[in-house]
Symmetry: C2
Subunit: 436 residues, 2 copies
C-alpha cells in the first residue's frame, strides 16, 4: 500500500466546494460581462514576472509580502496586484495599443500577508482602467462608477453607495489655506466624535493654525447634504485656488455625466471624507460601501492618476480605474449572508434510466444539451432513491426517469425536485418547461 500523504492546502488560501464555487463564478461572470459591455478589452498578463521589472520601487509593505524566488538564472516574483503589470504591459506594447486603452483583467494575485481570517494570500482582483496618451477626458471618470453601479446592482447585494471625491478639491483647499501638513490636520479632525467640535478647534489651534484657518476647515469638513448641496456649499466657501476650482468643476461634470448614464442619484454620494491614499491618486477617487454592512468597508476602490507607467516609459499616460477584490468580496458576502441563489446548480436535468435504458437516456441527454439545457445521465447502478438524492445533493432542479413506458409513449416523466411534482411531457414540452 502506498504511503498516504495528508491532503491539505497552504494556510491563507481559499478553496471552495463546488456549491460555493458556482456562486463565486456567478459573481465573477457578472463582473466580466459588465466590463465587456462597457467595451473594456481583456488582458491576461503572466502571474510570474521579472523581479527587476515588477519591483521597481524598493521597500514598502507590499513588496515585503511578495512571493519571490529564483529558478535557473531568473529572479522571479509573483504579481501582487494587476496595476504594476498593466503599467509594464502598456509601456512594453505602447506602439501596438490604441489610446484611450480600455482594459480589464481578472486574475489571481499573491501577497504573503500575515495569516488572518478573511485575508487571503492568493486572491482575485478584477480591475478596469482607461489609459490616455498624454491626456484623458473627464468623461472617463464617470464610466468607472457607472460600470460599478451596474455590477453591484446585478450581483444584487442590497442597497450600496458609491462614494466619490476629488483629490484636487482637498489639495486645493489646503493649499489655499497655506497648510502643507494636511495629514496632521486630518488626524485632528478625525477626533470629532471623541472630543467634539470645541476640542477639535483647540487641537487645530495647538498645531499652529489661526482662527480663520480653523473656521474654514470646520466649515469644510462639516459640509453635507445632497450632491448638489455639497457642490453649492463648496462654491460658497469662496476658495480662490485654481486646483480647488478645477476639482469642483470636474466633480460637477462627473456627477452630470452619471446622470446621463442614468445612475440613480441615491447610489452616488459626493463625500469629502474620501481620500484613498495621498500619493497615487490625483483627481476623482472612489469607494463603494454596502449600506447595511458598513463593517465590510469599501468593496471596490480606485481613482484617477496622472501617470501610469513612469517607471517604464518616458511618456505621460494618465488613467482612471478601479479594482474589485473578488475573493475577499465573496468571503464577506458569504459571511454577511448576502449571497443569492442558495441552491445553485450547473445542471438543469439529471436523466435517470431504468435498467437497460441507458441508450435512450443518452439520446435524451444529447437532445437536451442541443437545446442548451445542461444535463447528464446517472448511469451508475443502484436504487432509485440513491439516484434521486444524488440529484438533490447537487441541487439539480429536475430529474427525468426513462424506461419502457417513456420509450413506448414518447413522453417523459419530469420531476420537479423542489416540489416533488411529476408531469408526463413530450421532449418539446420538457424543453419548454425547463427553459421557463
Amino acid at each position: 500500500m502506498a504511503k498516504i500523504t495528508q491532503p491539505s492546502i497552504l494556510a491563507g488560501f481559499m478553496e471552495l466546494l463546488p456549491q460555493d464555487q458556482i456562486q463565486f463564478n456567478r459573481i465573477r461572470d457578472i463582473v466580466q460581462k459588465n466590463y465587456q459591455n462597457f467595451g473594456f478589452l481583456p488582458l491576461d498578463t503572466p502571474i510570474l514576472e521579472k523581479s527587476e521589472v515588477l519591483l521597481t520601487k524598493e521597500g514598502g509593505e507590499t513588496e515585503r509580502q511578495v512571493y519571490r524566488f529564483e529558478k535557473g538564472s531568473n529572479d522571479i516574483s509573483m504579481r501582487f496586484d494587476l496595476t504594476v503589470p498593466l503599467a509594464r504591459y502598456t509601456a512594453q506594447h505602447y506602439s501596438d495599443l490604441s489610446f484611450p486603452f480600455r482594459r480589464y483583467q481578472i486574475g489571481k494575485v499573491y501577497r504573503g500577508e500575515r495569516n488572518q481570517r478573511g485575508r487571503y494570500r492568493e486572491f482575485y482582483q478584477a480591475d478596469i482602467d482607461i489609459i490616455g496618451d498624454q491626456t484623458l477626458d473627464i468623461a472617463n471618470d464617470a464610466e468607472i462608477p457607472t460600470v460599478i453601479y451596474n455590477i453591484f446592482k446585478e450581483i444584487d447585494i442590497g442597497k450600496f453607495t458609491i462614494r466619490l471625491n476629488n483629490r484636487k478639491i482637498l489639495n486645493g483647499f489646503y493649499q489655499f489655506l497655506g497648510i502643507s501638513d494636511t495629514t496632521e490636520v486630518l488626524r485632528q479632525v478625525d477626533k470629532m466624535d471623541k472630543i467634539g467640535l470645541q476640542g477639535v478647534k483647540e487641537e487645530l489651534k495647538n498645531i499652529g493654525l489661526d482662527e480663520d484657518q480653523v473656521e474654514k476647515i470646520l466649515d469644510f469638513v462639516g459640509i453635507e447634504g445632497t450632491n448638489k448641496q455639497t457642490l453649492d456649499q463648496l462654491r460658497d466657501l469662496n476658495i480662490d485656488n485654481e486646483t480647488f476650482s478645477q476639482g469642483l468643476d470636474e466633480m460637477e461634470t462627473v456627477l452630470a455625466y452619471l446622470e446621463d448614464f442614468a445612475v440613480p442619484e441615491d447610489y452616488i454620494k459626493f463625500d469629502l471624507s474620501i481620500a484613498r491614499g495621498l500619493d497615487y491618486y490625483t483627481g476623482t477617487v472612489y469607494e463603494t460601501m454596502i449600506d447595511d454592512h458598513p463593517e465590510i468597508g469599501s468593496v471596490c476602490s480606485g481613482g484617477r492618476y496622472e501617470n501610469l507607467a513612469s517607471n517604464y516609459i518616458n511618456r505621460q499616460l494618465p488613467g482612471v480605474g478601479i479594482s474589485i477584490g473578488l475573493t475577499r468580496l465573496f468571503y464577506q458576502l458569504k459571511e454577511a449572508d448576502l449571497l443569492k441563489e442558495e441552491k445553485a446548480s450547473i445542471t438543469d436535468v439529471l436523466v435517470i434510466p431504468f435498467d437497460g435504458f441507458i441508450d435512450e437516456a443518452l439520446k435524451l441527454v444529447g437532445q437536451l444539451r442541443k437545446e442548451n439545457i445542461p444535463a447528464f445521465a446517472y448511469t451508475e447502478e443502484g436504487r432509485l432513491g440513491k439516484k434521486l438524492s444524488y440529484a438533490d445533493s447537487l441541487n439539480i432542479p429536475y430529474t427525468i426517469l426513462i424506461g419502457e413506458d417513456e420509450v413506448q409513449t414518447g413522453k417523459f416523466s419530469l420531476r420537479d425536485m423542489e416540489t416533488g411534482d411529476q408531469e408526463n411531457l413530450t421532449l418539446d414540452q420538457t424543453v419548454q418547461k425547463i427553459k421557463n
Copy 2:
C-alpha cells in the same frame, strides 16, 4: 526623472495583444460553456500548494521542472498540472462531494521546461474528469469524446478525428501471447515503415518470439477499417483472454453510446495504435487530431484510470478525463492560420460626439448597453478622422456620430465600418440593426 526599467516579461511566457486575447478567450469560453452544458462542476484550486502534497512521487521529468521555493516556513510548489490537485481535492473533500464527481477546471499550470518555440512555462489547461466512488460506469467513457466533439466543432478548426483505443485490448492481447515486454515489441513494430513487413518479422523473431506470436502480432497491428470492421476483426482473432474481451466489450459499448449521443462516426476512429503512456491509463484512451494538420499532434488527450487519489486516501476512486492544453492549442491554431473571426472586437459601437454633445453621447451609450450592446463614447478631443481610425484599429464594427442634427431629429447616423455605409436610424432601429 525616474530611472526607466526596460519593460519585458520572462522568457517562455505567453502574453497576447488585445486582439489575440479576444480570440484566445473565445476558445476558452467555448470550452467552458460546453463543459458546463455537460454538467461538470467548476473547480478552482490554488496555484500554490504544499510541496509535500503536490510532489508525492519523487523524481521524474515533470517534477524537475516544478517551480518550487520557500517562503517563511513553507515549502511551496506551483502546480504543474490540474490532475494532482484534483486528486488532492477529491481526497480532502471526499465526504463533501457527491459521486460520480464531475468537475472541470480551467487554469494556469507551470513547468520550467527548456525554452523553445511554441512551448510555454505558464500555460492553461482545461480539464474534465468524472470520478466514481469504487466503480464508474462505462457510459462515462462516451461522455468525454462527446464533449470534445462539441467543443472542436464549435471552435471550428476544420475536420478533426477523435481517436479511441482501450488499454485492456492491448494488455489482454499481449497477455494472451505470453509477452510481458510489450515496449520492445511495439518498438520493433514501429519500424514497419522503414524495414517493411519482412524486416519486422525477422526482428520479432530475433527478440525471441515464435512463429505463431509473430503472426498474431502482425495480424493485430494490421487491423484497419471502419470502427465496426475493426471490432469484427479483433473478435475474429479468437483471443481467449478475459482482459482482452472486456476491453473489446467496453469499446463496443462506448462506440454505441457515441452513436446515441449523435456524434458523427467519421469524427470517431477506433485506432489500435493509440496507447497514451503505459502506466496511468487502464481502459479507454483518447487522442484528437486535426485532419489537415497532423504535424500539430494531439490537441487533447486523456483516458480512463483505475485510481485517482491513492496517494491521499484509502479508497478506490476510478475516473475518466481529458485535458486540453489551451495555450499551446491557441499557439498552434494561430500558426496554422486556423483562427476564425480575424476582426474580433469586444465593442459593437463607438459613439462619437461632435463638440458639445458628450451628454447626448453618454445617454445613447447608456441606452445601447441596456440592450446588451457593448458600446462606449470616444470623448477625447481631436479630428473626426482620428476618431474613426480609433474605431478601425479596435475592429469596432459600427460608429454613431452624434451632434445637433441627431438630437433634433432623434435619428442617429450609424456607420458600418466594414462597408462605409451610413444610415439614419432611430434608437430602436439602431438596436435592431446591430443585433442582427
